[in-house]
């Protein structure tokens, strides 16, 4: 169970899923993955970027030789194929104390590496996962065994699209944005405390009648981020996603170019399908 700043060794990183989950679960946590196979390292690197944790440190090394150069970890995950000797060498480097030691110590003391790292991980992190479930739900990692290709797949939930509507002239919206608006059942957008949403006004003629619309009333003022409004919006949107409905979140200009509404509301790192649309 990662705490902020915690370091994980993922020995035999494979597709990177364990380290990625680790880094997504707590701020500033870091994972170092050892993986001797180049194709798997490349896959892990791709997965890390896709899932918003590009700082995942995947190294070309084997255990136990590769362990000496690493900083001492707060937790260790053993992929398949590690010998008892390797596990002992690694465990000797583990920082003392903390729930991670028990969790991973237990796994190692059973005398064999977990054959199903996802399941082991789920058990190990059960309390933590449930606490953060709302924030992480749109995507899950799927990997049946260490070394498998990790598939980034939507869980049972709907897809979340960040849709930039461009600078203002509706003719400058992209064909892709228009297509998404025609397809999704739920459309959310920021709006001032009173009055019309500017993002919605730009996209108006492409929003079909009868769609569920969520106007998120955000006080437009200088000052701190209006967190309550964003959090409420995130909850509302998550409820639709959980029910399997796709949601488009509108943004003036481009979502990733000062699109505070989208980036603050959608704090799932890497967890949505971005569409940026700008003239």
């Amino acid at each position: 169970m990662p705490h902020p700043g915690a370091l994980l060794w993922d020995i035999g990183a494979g597709c990177g899923s364990i380290g990625i989950e680790w880094m997504r679960a707590a701020d500033n946590s870091l994972a170092i993955g050892l993986e001797p196979r180049e194709d798997r390292r490349a896959m892990a690197a791709r997965n890390a970027v896709t899932l918003g944790v590009s700082a995942l440190d995947i190294r070309d090394a084997r255990a136990p030789e590769g362990l000496a150069a690493l900083p001492a970890p707060d937790a260790i995950f053993f992929g398949g194929g590690n010998s008892d000797a390797t596990m002992q060498i690694a465990l000797d480097r583990l920082k003392p104390g903390g729930p991670a030691r028990r969790t991973f110590g237990d796994a190692a003391e059973r005398g064999r590496p977990s054959r199903r790292p996802r399941d082991a991980w789920r058990r190990a992190c059960a309390p933590h996962r449930s606490a953060r479930r709302a924030a992480r739900r749109p995507f899950r990692l799927a990997s049946s065994d260490a070394g498998d290709a990790m598939v980034v797949e939507e869980a049972v939930s709907g897809r979340l699209y960040g849709v930039g509507v461009g600078p203002g002239d509706p003719e400058l919206m992209t064909l892709k944005a228009v297509r998404i608006l025609a397809e999704v059942p739920v459309i959310a957008y920021p709006a001032p405390n009173s009055g019309e949403s500017s993002a919605r006004a730009i996209a108006e003629k492409f929003i079909p009648a009868g769609r569920t619309e969520i106007a998120v009333r955000v006080p437009m003022r200088v000052g701190p981020v209006p967190l309550e409004a964003y959090e409420q919006a995130a909850d509302d949107i998550a409820a639709h996603l959980d029910a399997g409905r796709d949601v488009a979140v509108l943004c003036e200009g481009d979502p990733f170019f000062y699109g505070s509404f989208i980036t603050c509301t959608m704090r799932w790192r890497g967890g949505f399908r971005q569409l940026s649309c700008l003239a």
Partner: protein, 97 residues
């Protein structure tokens, strides 16, 4: 729509938000100029990378920026690639941020 914002979308990360300052740099600038500007900004996009990728990788390493640098090529096309710049799988050309 510019390749810059397409690369941001492909990378899955905001280019800039809140009070961030974005620097857009052509890789063709000389080392000193690039380093000076990279150390003076919260976010940077480097364009026109081409043959400069190895040089940029070294420079970002020196400046401690390599861990957060993402490489994007052929954004939005069928052969789009998005990788951490420091990944050994990253080719020897082109870079984003």
């Amino acid at each position: 729509m510019t390749s810059l914002t397409a690369c941001a979308a492909a990378s899955g990360r905001p280019l800039v938000r809140r009070d961030d300052v974005l620097m857009i740099l052509p890789a063709t600038l000389d080392d000193r100029e690039l380093e000076r500007r990279l150390t003076d900004t919260r976010a940077a996009a480097i364009m026109k990378v081409g043959r400069h990728l190895t040089r940029l990788r070294r420079m970002l390493g020196r400046l401690g920026l390599l861990a957060s640098a993402i490489y994007v090529s052929h954004a939005t096309r069928g052969n789009e690639r998005v990788l951490p710049l420091r990944s050994s799988a990253t080719p020897r050309r082109r870079i984003f941020r």
